[in-house]
Symmetry: C2
Subunit: 394 residues, 2 copies
């Protein structure tokens, strides 16, 4: 296959020679289109690397079901955990089906790699993990799904959960998760001790949800950085949300950023609507890898979201007050290159030798693609077209 | 025409009998579809009133042109005014064409009424007004366009602007605008005196941009309320943005809301991404009409936006941290009923006697329509289909 007349993110126009599912050559378009019978001429459309969703909840979504109104009685994390239990108790379609609906939708939108948190607590056991493992098997070869064993009900306040998290890793989860060590479990050291013990024993990374704000959130970030260093997990540790970084003065955020950068702790943001957004550019300047994710998509937590990572980059840019092209490109990197680095995707990118995983859109530049979120003209996986004009191939 | 099997916002299923461009009857669907040869069966789709954009800038958009990177050198209103001058100086396609591109796009998305601010200053004169008047003429009968004579460069710091605003009303603008009386003109009384003098003389309403935050913004809101009452403009006065209400303690916002409600001053919000969002529900509870608008769409101010008012309701809801159905319905009202009231649209709504201006989408409820922003299946103007599946009829 030769993808002809594609404009790359750097503005150059190229023909992409795809062989054996990989990019064999990036030829200058000025040379004209070679005479071959496998030419796919994209006529100056923009060719992007595949989108990466660094934070999704495949087991939570209700996508494809009739509308389920939000039932939370209050406005904090604990209220939403309770509301989710109610929704879960009444759902009749298994998570493998709704999660598959979501995977199909996001692949059609150009997402070919994702990190999904999966709820684990002492009521659910490993049920949701088993559902998401089925989804991973179902879509193997099309999309890579990294699984975080996520203690949605806490660890200490849901006795037995630590053992379940450990068992989840044994059964195929890739990372250990966490949740507001202070806000939910009320025991910073106990919560982190449980997470990092499993991570060390199993040789896996960590990705911890942290909604707790202000000075408490900052103290937890610093404790996570210290544990990360002590466990030798630099580069394999992430904190999702970290609203605290957006709720403290810039000098406090900058000092915390230095601590996170030294410890190799990355920060995931979905561009929160109702919570403070971390100072993403400041974090980046201080050496912290920041990456993007969808978070909740039409589930008991949020009615919003659709898994479109160009739209997510737009939302991040909108919340961060980005307007210049270099800022929109930074938001784009959060849902492509930076997320791929954190997820450890090998052979990622539009480069010779990389996997021929590609997304084609009608846009004049990456900045325009983020702002306008055009329909995905083509999604290509290992050199094969898997979606066209937003519709998954059969 | 009989629109059969439509689900209304209240959940009831109806047949809508359209005669002479108006809704003649809302028949219970349980009675079965009448035997007529002009039946349009929408098969349980959701029927909505037309969307209303309470704040758009038809003269600023660059929609349809190749991507123009943002050129502002700083991050405040004055910097962006300068950047816009640069963009304007180099554009070769007249505003009537780019503005028409935007009108076509928003009509295809179900917007049939809008309030457009139009830049007026002592360099531009009435040039942009004349462009937007041409747009209004071009689309007359399809979409109603209310025009605000908007002093984008200030009034006192752009000498001669007050006379131009007055002349704009004489030439067809519908309201007098304003811009940060303190932040831009540095003269609260002088700025408001100029605006309200014209409004009183010409018998028109006012709609004032107010980005100024904190206590200064609150003081300006109170001054606007006082002027509104003194000029007898209750119900014909609006403040756009009013970020200040989102940057002060709730008790200050509540007291200010009482002042605004007594004076009949409405508040427009687009759900700002990088500025504080006013406490919309609190304002509503205190009797202030809050309505929605797009604000900037792909122009020198913002790369974002597309004029889709269902997406705008979503953005408002996302920023306001709305999750429950009644909250999403409130955001929807901001871009339909509440905006129609502020714009003074007669015969608005899905009711017997109202104009047969309707939007059909595939959604189970208004809340779902806001969260999912489905493609507009049909847009109907005065009983005629003017767009189908997001594409404008020829």
């Amino acid at each position: 296959m030769l993808i002809a007349n594609a404009v790359l993110a750097d503005g150059t126009q190229r023909h992409i020679d795809v062989t054996g599912g990989r990019i064999a050559a990036l030829l200058p378009a000025s040379a004209g289109v070679p005479a071959r019978d496998d030419v796919l001429d994209v006529a100056g459309a923009l060719l992007l690397p595949p989108l990466v969703d660094g934070h999704i909840h495949l087991d939570k979504t209700l996508l494809g079901l009739p509308w389920v109104p939000n039932q939370a009685t209050g406005n904090n994390v604990a209220d939403r955990i309770e509301a989710e239990r109610k929704v879960r108790a009444t759902r009749t379609v298994p998570e493998v089906e709704t999660g598959s609906n979501l995977v199909r939708q996001v692949v059609a939108g150009g997402t070919l790699h994702m990190r999904s948190h999966v709820d684990i607590d002492n009521q659910l056991g490993l049920r949701n993990l088993h559902e998401v493992l089925k989804i991973r098997d179902r879509f193997r070869g099309l999309v890579s799904i990294q699984i975080v064993a996520f203690p949605q009900s806490g660890i200490l306040r849901s006795p037995g959960t630590a053992d379940l998290l450990d068992a989840a890793i044994a059964e195929g989860a890739d990372l250990v998760g966490g949740l507001d060590p202070v806000g939910i479990d009320g025991d910073l050291d106990g919560h982190l001790e449980a997470i990092f013990a499993i991570a060390e024993r199993r040789g896996v990374g960590v990705d911890i949800h942290l909604h707790d704000g202000g000075e408490s959130g900052i103290a937890q970030l610093i404790a996570i950085a210290e544990r990360t260093t002590a466990s030798g997990l630099q580069g394999k540790s992430a904190v999702s949300h970290a609203f605290a970084l957006g709720s403290v003065p810039a000098d406090v955020a900058a000092r915390t950023a230095d601590v996170l950068a030294r410890a190799g702790v990355a920060i995931m943001s979905h561009g929160p609507g109702g919570a403070p957004i971390p100072p993403l550019a400041l974090l980046h300047q201080h050496g912290v890898v920041v990456f993007g994710g969808s978070d909740n998509i039409r589930d008991a937590w949020s009615p919003f979201g659709n898994g479109d990572m160009l739209e997510r980059a737009m939302m991040i840019g909108y919340r961060a007050n980005y307007r210049h092209d270099h800022e929109l490109e930074f938001a784009f990197d959060m849902v492509t290159g930076a997320a791929a680095r954190i997820l450890g995707i090998e052979g990622y990118g539009v480069a010779v030798g990389a996997a021929a995983d590609l997304v084609v859109v009608e846009a004049g530049s990456v900045a325009e693609a983020v702002a306008a979120r055009p329909r995905r003209k083509l999604v290509i996986k290992a050199g094969k077209i898997v979606a066209r004009d937003g519709v998954l191939a059969a």
